[in-house]
């Protein structure tokens, strides 16, 4: 008998006017705040990059802030976060500071990696943020193991990781999710489906209607959400966290969005159709969320302006801190190869 799948259009690309899980006004403002922090911090990184101050290339999560922030906001301090290359938003929610962030991008000594690992491979172990390696998918089994460790200790902490529409096609995605499902672990994988993997559009990456449907083949919960609605993302991940803590196993959440810049700052994304880009620029997760908050009178223009001023000040300060931070001593890299 042939297998069945559910119908095609499963989400609407709008911010629906409804209740979202346990979100109250304060939390909604929190989400907005982190999105602005992320946006402004990454804009600053781009500025520094153009000034030739950044070590290495620059990848941003512009346009994906609702995904990374909505997801990480569902975590507690003890939960493990395994971000990848567009997830600075998740970092900030989880406790990464602007100072360590800028210091890392400038290759300075005072971060958990002490100038050893690539700029976006930032971590913060004391906040349970574990810096990624470059190999896409490689952190998935590791995050699953983190969840397994929690279960073995009788704790209900969970692990959250991300993967792209492209990275979803690497072997570790499969092995990690299957392992998590068999052991019913508290692991949540958010697919940042931003329609491109570098220059490669999704139809050349996979042929399924929805990547979330892979959940069926693992026997776990799968779900698709509009990735530019921070509340919807939070809701899906928040519920996944609840299930995970109850021992109901892992979840695979596909958040649909679009990469509105190049793959990294050296890429002008000439291969992306202009109309597609325009459509998604209009769907900007921050602007539309801001409109929603204003319309619902959850926040005021004045408050927003004040918030932005404060963020910008903090970013200036953190940048200065980073620029004044020392580079690592050359010989330092020879230490701690072994614990």
């Amino acid at each position: 008998m042939a297998v069945k799948k559910a119908g095609k259009e499963r989400i609407k690309f709008i911010i629906e006017d409804r209740e979202y899980f346990d979100l109250n006004d304060k939390k909604k403002i929190d989400l907005y705040y982190y999105m602005q922090v992320c946006r402004k911090a990454e804009e600053q990184i781009i500025r520094l990059y153009r000034q030739g101050k950044i070590v290495g290339g620059v990848f941003t999560g512009r346009g994906l802030e609702a995904i990374t922030i909505g997801s990480a906001y569902a975590l507690e301090e003890r939960d493990g976060l395994f971000p990848i290359h567009r997830d600075m938003g998740a970092h900030f929610v989880k406790g990464q500071t602007l100072k360590t962030f800028f210091a890392q991008y400038l290759g300075r000594a005072n971060t958990s990696s002490r100038g050893r690992d690539g700029n976006l491979h930032l971590g913060m172990p004391e906040k349970h943020i574990y810096g990624t390696i470059s190999h896409l998918g490689a952190m998935i089994p590791v995050a699953v193991g983190y969840a397994m460790g929690a279960k073995m200790r009788g704790e209900d902490s969970v692990a959250l990781s991300f993967i792209g529409d492209g990275g979803s096609n690497i072997g570790d995605f499969h092995e990690g999710l299957n392992f998590a499902a068999v052991h019913k672990l508290g692991f949540i994988l958010v697919i940042e489906n931003n329609q491109y993997a570098y220059s490669t559009p999704t139809q050349e990456q996979y042929a399924a209607d929805y990547l979330a449907d892979r959940a069926i083949g693992y026997g776990m919960h799968g779900e698709v959400v509009y990735g530019n609605n921070v509340m919807a993302v939070y809701e899906a991940v928040g519920k996944a966290v609840v299930r995970a803590r109850k021992g109901e196993g892992p979840s695979l959440i596909e958040a649909r969005s679009m990469r509105v810049r190049g793959h990294s700052e050296h890429d002008d994304a000439f291969y992306v159709p202009k109309e597609l880009l325009q459509e998604w620029v209009k769907r900007d997760p921050i602007e539309n969320y801001e409109k929603y908050l204003l319309r619902k009178k959850i926040i005021t223009k004045v408050k927003i302006e004040k918030m932005i001023r404060e963020i910008e000040a903090e970013i200036r300060e953190a940048t200065e801190y980073a620029e004044q931070s020392p580079f690592p001593e050359p010989e330092d890299c020879m230490r701690d190869l072994f614990a």
Binding site: P125, E175, D336, L337
Partner: protein, 325 residues
């Protein structure tokens, strides 16, 4: 007290460490009720239960990756590869994730990866290999390869207690073929220390794993037949290797033969020869010679495998060549 086999010594090492430290656990394919393909973990599930002797799906990359995650959470996983050959399916996790985590993020990932390796069992190219050279060259990994029951147990205990990733290569051919009485008390064999398995002054064979036994036998024969005393240094640890003991014995014997079961070219013997050459050049009365497997995959049919392996005959022939240089 009765003698136990190499295989039992590995099991004892794991069992005692699991009793000592509840953070230690075993994971791998069929390690539970079945006791592992070679029965190394046989019976352990009875004592420790399925949470600590954990069967996994056939997913080597996940076995290693999940192990890393559990290690971050403070556990000390012992991950079993059903055959060492399959470690290539988890290669990326080992060389990029496990090997670097502490260095690049300050996150400790203590874990042991067990690799039943080696030939002489007619297993063919994919059930007989010795993959240790790939890891030997990868910064951030420790690599051990015991040749005796005593060392198998002692190195297992050190590996489990080590805060790093230790690749543990156990030689399948030795599993049930060698036995030894082991001390009743807790002991360890420190990682990084070689052992003089046989003393001698005319030359030294530097080796590890199964060829240790062949080398000792060859040297015994040479002593009887030719009256020459050749030392055998059992490295036991490949990374780090015991630079001090190597140089000491090289300087007192002046002739060196390196023997290893894996293929010659690009093998560990190359590094050892280069190291000896760099550090004891003036002491060498002959070039450092090597005897190793042929530079092909491990063949299946017995006459081919015999031809491929660095057998006793080949070790002896090379030793004679060295001594008559």
């Amino acid at each position: 007290m009765s003698a136990i086999s190499y295989l039992e010594a590995i099991r004892e090492g794991m069992t005692e460490e699991m009793r000592r430290d509840e953070k230690v656990f075993v994971m791998g394919e069929d390690v539970g009720v079945y006791g592992g393909a070679f029965k190394v973990t046989k019976g352990m599930i009875g004592e420790f239960g399925p949470q600590r002797i954990m069967d996994t799906p056939i997913s080597e990359s996940a076995i290693i990756g999940v192990g890393i995650g559990a290690a971050i959470q403070g556990f000390r996983p012992i991950c079993e590869m059903q055959f060492a050959d399959f470690v290539t399916s988890g290669f990326n996790q080992i060389v990029n994730n496990a090997a670097t985590f502490y260095w690049r993020q300050g996150v400790k990932t203590p874990m042991v990866i067990r690799n039943p390796s080696g030939g002489n069992i007619h297993g063919g190219p994919f059930h007989s290999s010795n993959p240790e050279p790939w890891f030997f060259r990868t910064p951030g990994l420790k690599v051990v390869a015991p040749a005796t029951a005593y060392d198998a147990k002692g190195l297992m205990k050190s590996a489990v207690r080590d805060d790093n990733v230790v690749l543990y290569f156990e030689n399948k051919y030795l599993y049930r073929r060698i036995k030894e009485e082991l001390p009743p008390e807790d002991y360890i064999v420190p990682i990084g220390e070689a052992k003089l398995a046989r003393d001698g002054n005319e030359a030294v064979i530097i080796t590890y794993g199964a060829p240790v036994h062949d080398s000792i036998q060859v040297c015994g024969e040479m002593s009887k037949e030719e009256g020459v005393e050749v030392a055998v240094l059992d490295l036991r640890s490949l990374m780090p290797f015991d630079k001090g003991k190597i140089l000491t014995i090289v300087k007192s014997t002046n002739r060196v033969l390196i023997a290893h079961e894996h293929q010659l070219t690009g093998g560990i013997g190359g590094e050892l020869a280069a190291f000896i050459n760099e550090n004891a050049f003036e002491y060498l009365d002959a070039p450092v010679m090597r005897v190793a497997a042929k530079d092909i995959p491990v063949p299946f049919s017995p006459p081919l495998e015999e031809y491929f392996l660095p057998t006793r005959d080949k070790i002896k022939a090379k030793l004679i060549e060295l001594l008559s240089y």
